[in-house]
Amino acid sequence: MKEQRGMALRLFGLLNGPQTMGRGYFFWIGFLIIITVAYVAPTHLGIKPYKVNEFLVSGFLAASLSLLWGYCGILSLGQAAFFGIGGYTFGILGINMWDDNGNTHIALLSGVALPTLFAAFIGSIMFFARLKGVYIAILMLVLSLLFETFMLQTADPEVYSIGKALLGGSNGLRPASDIPNLSFGWGEAVAEFNGRRIGFYYFVLTLLIVVYLSLRILLNSSFGYLLVAVREDPDRTETFGYDVRLIQLGVFCIAAALAGLAGSLDTARINRVDPELVFGVSANIMVVIWVSVGGRKDLTAAILGAISLEWLFLWLTTTGSPEYATIVMGAILVFVMLIAPEGIFIFVGQWLGKLFSSKVGRQSEDQDTNV
């Protein structure tokens, strides 16, 4: 009994550790308020689930790149490759297995597992060859574009079909009407989440919170410290007896799993996978924009960046035109990189932290600067 309590306390301590911004009462009270607002938003504040569901899915993708780039210092310009692989896997397995299973357990699990395996393969080549960071960033982008080119030329249904699923070239995976919604259960008892409805919203919101809190624990565990150590000085980390390549490979796989999860959820959300939208240049650059503008070195900032920028982008496209919205996104990226290189939300967070910690004393502020 006592041991269990000790364990729980330790986990709570890890939630609140120095690798993630936002500690102390003010942050957690704010956190609870935001979550409560998020839960009641569709019913009481008139937020439309079919719009915001997309933002929540982006949150996973942003967390994935933040982990990889912000914490471990490995920039991947092609993080959407894993998103796309996850999306295609979910779609193909969903189309083929829906009739037999009536649920999407296997499709969702594979949508996470396959990108992870692929990351393990590519990552072991890249990290064990000790490629320079710039090369890794470029190679990942080229890889993603390679997938796009491949998928674009798969229009021939005779050649490019997997079971009942046709890859469908530039039209995306077909038959789109057979790509299932997210559904869990056994036999007759199945809960199905339509991606445009409120059920999906609650499900993904809860999942995002669970993933967020788990990542906080992970980042404040010794593994999280190792990630930051590798980012700050790989040679010194090596001198302490750690295998830097294994750490990099590990975080690369975790990030791929998160991106794959996001891809699977997104396919289930719109019942559609389109090669240009998942593997293209703009898909990849958007992830980088969310994370750099929000703040790559903090999980919370990256997720907030994704949600708020997606919101802004949607607002700009509906009020103006997509071309102007794209220009604004690019301009925001360049501007923020010049003015607040650490990202907007980290900047704001540090300012808030100083504001509140001045009453408590200077102790926590010193930790803040380490973040």
């Binding site: 780039w69 310009l77 490629l131 960033a137 390679l146 703009s282 102007y324 794209t326 990226l333 010049l338």
Partner: protein
């Protein structure tokens, strides 16, 4: 088709592929080799070159001058970008990737809004001169009239005769001239000496009175001008759109990464020759797509064996043998 014709076709494709890679990557590799920055807006600088060429030629300026203007236009654009934005990111390589990517997004969209999705395409120079080879003809270079004379009544060439456009050969020659010019510029001029000194040891170069910021700006401008010239050359044989650069950037990145940053010119040439060979062989045996995949596979393999690229590997070999 006899073996000679086949061989000629193969060589023709190979020099075409090598010229493509050298032209697409030249500007990028100068900037990467000298400053370690991979300029993600490289494709957009090529696009600017293509647009300058197009507008100059609409105004009646002959193609060679239009292409030189393209180089000047892109060079100026590059220097402005360097002064305004890129110079703040020299110490953070990954951030410089991201910020130049943002610039590329803004520039291509601005062109899309200003000039619309496509431009009137330009006439390809020498398009009426063809190299004919094989069959009874053997080998000959003919103009438009000669070409019509050889065709039969339904407009087909006689059996076994293949025709090749000459502009590709011109591009290959220009790419070689550019490489030689670049080498001369870095080897023999005052600017070249200063630039190489800055590349070797910026602090020491600065202490000796070389204005390193100015060298960086000029180098970035030089790389951008090369991108603009390539863009102008490609504009004569491809359709000009705001996303013109995207067709070149991925191959250009691969070429530069494989070449490595230790020795700009030899790395670029070696890398283009190696990747061009892989691409030609795979494209011939399988398909264009597999040719591209093969190129990336080869790039992975080369980087596994030589993590700092071909030029880095050569430099290590050299220093060991001393």
């Amino acid at each position: 088709m006899d073996i000679f014709t086949e061989l000629f076709g193969f060589v023709f494709q190979y020099i075409d592929a090598v010229a493509f890679l050298i032209l697409a990557a030249a500007g990028l590799s100068i900037i990467f080799g000298m400053m370690g920055v991979i300029n993600m807006a490289h494709g957009e600088l090529m696009m600017i070159g293509a647009y300058v060429t197009a507008f100059s030629m609409y105004a009646g300026i002959p193609a060679p001058i239009a292409i030189i203007l393209a180089g000047a236009g892109a060079g100026v654009a590059g220097m402005i970008l360097e002064r305004l934005i890129i110079r703040h990111f020299y110490k953070q390589l990954l951030s410089s990737l991201v910020v130049t990517w943002g610039i590329s997004m803004v520039v291509s969209q601005l062109f899309l809004i200003t000039f619309g999705p496509t431009m009137e395409s330009l006439p390809t120079p020498f398009s009426d001169i063809k190299i004919l080879i094989g069959g009874d003809i053997g080998f000959s270079i003919v103009g438009a009239e000669g070409f019509v004379g050889i065709q039969d009544s339904s407009g087909r060439l006689p059996k076994g005769v293949e025709s090749f456009g000459i502009y590709r050969v011109v591009m290959f020659v220009i790419s070689i001239l550019l490489i030689i010019g670049l080498w001369g510029l870095l080897r023999f001029t005052e600017f070249g000496t200063r630039a190489r000194a800055t590349m070797d040891n910026p602090t020491m170069a600065n202490a000796l009175g070389i204005s390193t910021p100015r060298i960086y700006a000029f180098t970035f401008g030089l790389g951008s001008a090369l991108a603009g010239i390539s863009g102008g050359l490609f504009a004569l044989s491809a359709s000009i759109t705001p996303f013109f650069g995207a067709a070149f950037t991925d191959k250009a990145f691969i070429t530069v990464v494989v070449g490595g940053g230790t020795s700009v010119i030899s790395g670029l040439v070696a890398s283009a020759m190696a990747l061009g060979a892989v691409q030609t062989i795979f494209t011939n045996v399988f398909s264009v797509y597999i040719g591209f995949v093969g190129m990336i596979g080869a790039a992975f393999l080369i980087l596994l064996l030589m993590p700092t690229g071909i030029s880095g590997y050569l430099a290590i070999r050299k220093s060991r043998s001393k």
